[in-house]
Symmetry: C2
Subunit: 160 residues, 2 copies
DNA sequence: AATTTTTAGTTGCCGCGGCAACTACACGCT
DNA sequence: AGCGTGTAGTTGCCGCGGCAACTAAAAATT
């Protein structure tokens, strides 16, 4: 066998290590802040945020899945959880009998609105405040092609 | 209540969105490539890599946990899985009766060595090849303070 | 030396996400 | 109308990680 491996350069492995470490740790950190302060997982936060921005605070499950880079099963379960807590309602679609609309309730809206400031604050302290405008651009520019490749459907809609 | 939220600027939300999206999708992508091509999860890959670089291909469970930003329970379970497959062995420490040394077996070493080229290749295609040297530096520089904050112990040792 | 406290590691239970299987409805074709 | 194919969504089972509870051994305290 030929182990003629294309080794990484110093910078490459620095960047790569930072990226996988951040990817490993960031989701747990977000979950934990949001859970503690607002009783929501990060994914639930995203889902309710997307609903809030949607027309009539409602979206079909499939569209919600697309907008959140998620899968139908995952979303179906999250919606069930949120529904049990009254943050969201399932309403059968009048036009297409297969479709289900997920609607953010007033309670859900309030929960989200209460969660936002603390979360933004946390995000600022964790990442954004550190970076100059230029660094922010660089970061976005470096990551966007990666995201595009990771998300083959290019549905990456949260982008508001 | 006062919802005087510190809203994000355009760049901030671009950078933030790219970062959380990457964090959400990257780990699954790595797992899936490594699983398919080498039968290892990304975390198992990390663990075996750290062991391979360690003195005598062995490390105490606690040290392994520190080196991988992991917890003891998580690591204990991963080691059990790897042990079942013969990639790793548990050896009681001669000095401290509480400690367990995890040793990479020859089989484990071979499995890892087989996994590396394809993985590096994948990582290159996914991220690195896209970026100029300067962008790599920028990326690392932007993420490192974040990582430092996420990993309060600053044990972030994989760094070699 | 005996007792307490701390440290190392494992195990059980739970929650979450993935995949595959399934139901139900819609659409296309004849 | 009837049949097959495709689409929307849900559910069950599994694997993984977190936390808390536990065991066992070492260190510190008296």
């Amino acid at each position: 066998m030929n182990y003629n491996v294309p080794r990484m350069t110093r910078v490459e492995s620095r960047a790569w290590l930072a990226l996988i470490t951040a990817s490993e740790l960031l989701p747990a950190a977000l979950d934990s802040q949001l859970r503690r302060d607002a009783g929501l997982t990060h994914f639930e936060f995203i889902v309710t945020t997307v609903l809030r921005q949607a027309d009539g605070n409602r979206l079909r499950v499939t569209d919600l899945a697309l907008a959140t880079n998620s899968t139908l099963p995952r979303l179906s379960k999250v919606v069930s959880r949120l529904e049990k807590r009254g943050l969201v309602e399932r309403i059968a679609d009048r036009v297409d009998g297969r479709s289900v609309n997920v609607v953010l309730t007033a309670l859900g809206r309030r929960a989200l609105i209460r969660a936002v400031p603390g979360h933004i604050d946390y995000v600022r302290r964790l990442v954004l405040d550190d970076l100059t405008e230029e660094q922010l651009v660089n970061l976005a520019t470096a990551l966007e092609p990666l995201v595009a490749r990771l998300d083959p459907q290019h549905l990456y809609t949260l982008r508001n």
